[in-house]
Symmetry: C2
Subunit: 115 residues, 2 copies
């Protein structure tokens, strides 16, 4: 049973860390350099860099070097992919619930009919 969705694995894993979610949230507002992104956190730069690499590997963001500064930008396609997985499964679940309710309603009707 090989893993068919390593992309999805990595995106969900990347989003499981509050620091990384905060970075994604920040980048929704526009590009930023590594040190700008790191500023709100009390962790060392090497550690923070690791978070950036994880986000990059997951496809959630891309970076480019401008002089000595590394600029980070969101890649919303990866975000959309994870969102699609969730909303699709919620849809399936809701559809089943609807069928169940319809079934119960039908049973009620039939019971009334029997009386």
């Amino acid at each position: 049973m090989a893993n068919q969705q390593p992309q999805l694995d990595r995106a969900f894993a990347a989003l499981s860390d509050p620091t990384r979610r905060a970075v994604v949230a920040r980048l929704c507002l526009g590009e930023a350099s590594v040190s700008e992104l790191a500023a709100p956190f009390r962790i060392g730069l090497p550690t923070f860099l690791k978070h950036i690499r994880v986000l990059e590997d997951s496809g959630l963001l891309e970076t480019r070097k401008a002089g000595r500064v590394r600029v980070c930008a969101l890649r919303p396609e990866a975000l959309r992919q994870t969102d699609r997985w969730l909303s699709e499964h919620l849809r399936i679940w809701a559809a089943r619930l609807d069928r169940m309710e319809a079934y119960i309603e039908r049973r009620k009707q039939e019971t009334r009919h029997d009386e």
Copy 2:
């Protein structure tokens, strides 16, 4: 900087594993016992149980014991919570993009005006 959303952390982490996503997908179709859920996978039951515990701790599913069988059911609220985080941030990102496009459009108009 304390973590404000351990729930969200755990839900995303739980969904980062293909086995666990498959379990969630299966449970969208209705309740199932541990061994029914484990059947499609080639991993041992103890290992599979760990996955179930992770899903349970994340709030994505709940279980109850019926005789010697443990029945698992989806808790869609946790699924919805993660979906909300994603769609909200996608919304913010899209809003910014709209503003940028509007800005560029305005610049175009002004440039034309200057000619």
